[in-house]
Subunit: 326 residues, 2 copies
């Protein structure tokens, strides 16, 4: 639930007056998104999403995020589009925060993941990776392998409060990942946070992608690994190989995966698991009990990490490399 | 921030299929309302509000609330209208909770109260009271004078944790209110919770009223007293006599206040103050620290109570009874 900044009706009215969108009809805070304040704003021109960027977003990154959304749309990806005010600028200020109005995207994110969702996701993710080619701005992934050790060290002294032995387990895994992380796989713009609440569907078909505020340059197959973790485990912790196969096969149909990418996938999935484990662990240990934020369980990702540690080949994700001609 | 029940996209789709409104386009939890779960639901027919009634609402009261919204609209009050499904029924079930789809109301509630808002509120409240006449259903006000002592007793043992001496101060006030509470003033349907977030404006003009889930039968002037408390104090605690005068004068222009109602107003305002003080005190003492709810400060209403205890006549609220011909 995310409305961190209270925006007054007067603030909204004078903000919207900067755009050629008519008068404000309604503005309601929405209980989605975790990093920013989001409002569903209706003007005489229709519905929009108003986002105020809170402290976790570096304002210097905003031109990358907004430019990327425009570049992706120009290359066929359905995603929110920053709306430019009368002066031609999309990035503005509201209540002392960077603020942007973006177009409203139809669809709902799936609460219960069905296999068809994973099929659509695979194709959509591959299209995103292809559409990102040629985007001129760059943004390093601060939450990739180089970023994990500082994050680990910030939580290490108290990690065992969450689970005895967690500190040593994470240290050993980090050593392994740092030694083995691949450097020569195809890279480009990745979404880096493509969880179900960022993927909209209508009638079972993917209708758009949102929330590009972790997007960056990194290995494309690492984005696939993030989705394997976010979409293919059941609430009881079991790995759904049917969903994984649909995700991977539909991805590969749009953007072929190389033999090297497939071979690296279990390692990339371990990396993705530790990335979310470490940020959740940090938040778990550093979120005041009274905060208006639901903390996410870091141990969900320890479980996923353990799973991928046992995986030897991509066949265990349901994909026969021979089916891809490899 | 209120989304207590997670509703899946599948649930929403099959719920909306009961109505002649086309397909679901979008459904987002909204961060408004404190008692229920609210969603802004867009279908091919336009936007609606989907409300799931949580445990604080007695399902037996829902026909009163829904019938009242229809009765008021039929008598000229702009308020959300329950939408009937194909079978003619508005009250349904979703995720095991009573649920209703209501029409979407244009406007925003004022975060910073200006005098013009109080003028519009006065006229709107009087219109509501006139429109309520003839509504056949009845609902007792469980949070009027007979309800305060049990509420007090539930919090009394720990009241002094919030402020030393609070228990004795409340006990003395309750004695006074129970002895002096008027019984013979004009009664009818009151809103009973007409705080700024329940009153929408467009361009400074009142555009509608929402959230009738405390509505009941009680003294009409008691509703005025609730608004005096909710709208006429500044954030620094000072009483704004200009706003009070505009509220009362514009109320009286639409529905004349009798001399007896005016004379009772300071006492009714004390009653309204203790009513919100007691419910906030109860919530303050009984809300777990980790709950995802922002607790409201009970002492804000102790301050308001102290103010009204010093008021002798309605002239101290800015209104000259002679100006009303009294």
């Amino acid at each position: 639930m995310a409305v961190y900044t209270e925006v007054s009706d007067e603030d909204v009215r004078s903000f919207v007056a900067q755009y050629p969108l008519g008068e404000v009809v309604s503005c309601k805070g929405i209980a989605e998104g975790v990093e920013n304040s989001n409002f569903l704003l209706v003007t005489e021109s229709g519905p929009f999403i108003l986002t105020l960027y809170e402290k976790r977003v570096d304002p210097a990154d905003l031109p990358f995020f907004l430019g990327l959304m425009e570049h992706l749309a120009a290359n066929g990806v359905t995603c929110p589009q920053p709306v430019r005010a009368r002066d031609g600028e999309a990035l503005r200020t509201l209540c002392g925060r960077p603020a942007v109005l973006v177009t409203f995207l139809k669809g709902m994110w799936p609460r219960r993941i069905l296999p068809e969702h994973c099929a659509g996701l695979g194709a959509g993710l591959a299209s995103l990776h292809l559409a990102g080619a040629g985007f001129p701005l760059k943004r390093r992934n601060a939450l990739s392998v180089q970023g994990w050790r500082p994050l680990f060290e910030a939580s290490a002294p108290r990690a065992d409060e969450v689970k005895p032995g967690l500190r040593d387990a994470l240290a050993a895994e980090l050593d392994h990942l740092e030694r083995s992380w691949p450097a020569d796989l195809p890279a480009g713009v990745i979404h880096a946070d493509l969880f179900p609440d960022n993927v909209f569907f209508r009638d079972g078909k993917l209708s758009g992608l949102i929330d590009f505020y972790f997007a960056c340059d990194d290995l494309l197959a690492y984005d696939v690994a993030i989705c394997l973790n976010a979409w293919c485990f059941e609430p009881d912790g079991s790995f759904n190989i049917t969903k994984a196969r649909l995700l991977l096969a539909n991805y590969a149909r749009t953007r072929p995966l190389s033999a090297a990418e497939l071979a690296a996938l279990p390692l990339l999935a371990r990396g993705s698991a530790i990335r979310f484990l470490l940020t959740r662990l940090y938040d778990w240990l550093n979120t005041p009990a009274g905060a208006m934020v639901r903390r996410k369980d870091p141990l969900e990702y320890l479980h996923k990490l353990r799973f991928h540690q046992q995986v030897r080949t991509v066949a265990e994700y349901g994909l026969d490399p021979a089916s891809l001609g490899l």
